[in-house]
């Protein structure tokens, strides 16, 4: 299957829109689970921009950076969700404004 010829501005504008959605969600939400989801959306938008750039030049490098972003997202989510469990246990809430003490 060959690729499509899409104007790069459209793909990059979509990536920018998704990134802005994720950024707004990150600033808006106070629940840490939704903040982690917003981070996923932002990472995904960046990955879309990289794959689009790889498709523009017909090179594999874009997809390789996508792979690296994928591994970063996986590691970040694993540690982040472990922290979610700890915060829920210690503070009995998911509100990030309550989790202010560094030494619980």
């Amino acid at each position: 299957m060959s690729g499509l010829q899409i104007p790069m501005e459209h793909v990059l504008a979509l990536a920018g829109l998704l990134f802005s959605c994720g950024l707004m969600g990150l600033m808006l939400r106070r629940n840490i689970i939704f903040m982690l989801m917003s981070l996923e959306v932002m990472l995904n938008a960046v990955a879309l921009a990289f794959v689009a750039a790889g498709a523009q030049w017909g090179q594999a490098d874009g997809q390789i950076i996508f792979l690296l972003i994928l591994s970063v997202a996986a590691a970040e989510v694993a540690v982040g969700l472990g922290l979610v469990l700890q915060i829920q246990r210690r503070f009995k809430t998911l509100d990030m404004d309550q989790a202010r003490r560094l030494r619980g």
Binding site: M1, S2, G3, L4, Q5, I6, P7, M8, E9, H10, V11, L12, A13, L14, G16, L17, L18, F19, S20, C21, L23, M24, G25, M27, L28, N31, F34, L36, M37, E40, V41, N44, L48, V51, A52, G54, A55, Q56, G58, A60, D61, Q63, I64, L67, L70, V72, A73, A74, A75, E76, V77, A78, V79, L81, G82, V84, L85, Q86, R89, L94
Partner: protein, 170 residues
């Protein structure tokens, strides 16, 4: 025809992301997020990156989202959590994040107008990706494996204490 598919998938991705980040129920938000990731996988496939599309479905929409599902099930937030979330999402909290994100988006779109180009229409096969991955990028693969190991150790450390305390309480 295929270009229409592209724009349809792009629309679905945007709509599902917007819905996901404004839900009050975390499980519903997660389903919308999965729809958004699947739509992005369709975009990857249409742009000629089938390997990235497969990984997007298997790892993002599969593994990472299943982690979220497990944690949401373990936390068991319930109805009062949804009510509290609705209270936090009141209209006045939207203003500052919305304005800041809109300004950033505007700057991004203005910067994009300077570079007209199209995607090449040449599909990059998984074979090329693999050859590049274990050729010039082999150091990056090593570093990614170290990162995943660090993530594994960190998640085990954080989760292990959670499990041990619960057993002691019984």
């Amino acid at each position: 025809m295929m270009a229409t598919l592209f724009y349809l998938a792009a629309f679905i991705a945007l709509l599902a992301t917007g819905l996901a980040l404004t839900r009050t129920n975390a499980a519903h938000a997660l389903i919308y997020l999965i729809v958004s990731l699947l739509a992005v996988a369709v975009l990857f496939f249409l742009m000629g990156a089938p390997f990235a599309a497969a990984l997007e479905i298997v790892i993002y929409a599969g593994a990472i989202m299943v982690l979220f599902v497990f944690v949401i099930m373990m936390l068991n937030v319930g109805q009062e959590g949804i009510e509290r979330e609705r209270e936090w999402l009141s209209a006045r909290n939207w203003v500052v994040p919305g304005v800041l994100a809109a300004i950033l988006l505007l700057e991004l779109l203005l910067a994009l107008r300077a570079a007209p180009a199209t995607t090449s229409g040449v599909a990059v096969t998984p074979k090329e990706v693999g050859l590049a991955l274990f050729g010039p990028y082999v150091l990056a693969v090593e570093i990614a494996s170290m990162l995943l190991l660090a993530g594994l150790v960190g998640a085990y450390h954080l989760g292990r204490r959670f499990i041990v305390r619960r057993e002691r309480r019984r």
